[in-house]
Amino acid sequence: MAGPRYRAAAASLLIVEPLDMFTAVFHRPSGVTHLLNEPAPQILEALADEALDMGALLARLAQTYDLADADGSAVLQARLAELEAAGLVERV
């Protein structure tokens, strides 16, 4: 069964300022500044252009990051929930 698909908030709604291991993201609709660390900025990047479900997102990230073990999926789920609550990611 295919789960929900996710998409990042439109690029025009975000100001992204890479710092070091953290990235500062200003979210225009809420006026909130988020400090994100790996893999959150990478999730936003992967979901910037197209909506993906969990499986596709995991596969996309696994190409560049070491997430593919059993924990990877759980970590991803948790980060995704946080990003959704913050409004940085939404379900489509």
């Binding site: 609709p29 006026g31 909130v32 409004g87």
Partner: protein, 338 residues
Amino acid sequence: MSAVQTLVALLRDPERADAVDPAHWTEVLAVARAETLAGTLAHRLAGLALPDLVAGALAEARIDADEARRTALWEANRVALALRPLGHPVILLKGTALVAAGLAAGQGRGIGDCDILLPRKLLDHAEKLLVDAGWEWMKSDPYDDLYYRQWMHELPPLVHGERGRMVDVHHTILPLTARPTPDAQALIVDAEVLEGGLAVLCHTDMIVHAAAHLFADGELAGGLRNLWDIHALIEERGMEGLKARAARHGLSSAVDRALRLTHAVYGTTVPPRWQRLTMIDRLYRRRMMARDEWGRERHKTLRAVFYIRSHLIRMPLPMLIRHLWIKWRKGKAASGLG
């Protein structure tokens, strides 16, 4: 002219800004801030040639209003997301509704809590959904909690744990203890649906609600701001059907008084029957305009009278006495501890 008179005159007729001298501007700003009308004033005066320093101070009020708007719309968005499982649009009230609907009354307006209206039968479910989504109860006192649920027209206020913003969930626009009983069903059925699971009251209900709020649900503090909402709503979209709608909600006298006052204070376009003030209206106007040039409230006796009156309006007398008695006992207990 007093500072509050100048404030009202500038809201009515921005071109008069030319004639205000710098020292008087200081007083007008103090009064505008006290009445939470600084952002509205800044929007009304936008584009006019003003002294640089005055323009700078007004620009700050505009920044504040823009942030208030942003925060309010985002909060509405989050509330709608949390309440999506209800399958019913979230009806925004007051300031949030004005900005969400893009109305002139919302320009520059300060906005406090997120007030929403839902059918009464959905309230328990809504409360559960909000708590699941990170909102928390603020009132821990069992008496207050019971009072809210039983007699007020809302759930006890919920505050979001992370954003610190408050949502007030109403099922009608006046407390059940108040004597007029608005037709909550009609408010909900005739609401205008917006995007994103949101809705606002229909135009005439917005005016009725603003009038009810002005007289029945408060102490008339901040009355000039609430009256401005009514003025701007009428100037933008007229008042067709308002009389019948007010009657339907049992709020004709509040709406009539609001119309007479908004005409007298802001020069709102209304038919002749609302163009004359009664004796009591004059008292209300005096109460609304009671600020000195430092933004302080004047006429303390008049204020006390209005406080008792506003409590009377909200509750029948025996209940009022019970409420004040419990409040008083709690006050004694608290000061005894301290």
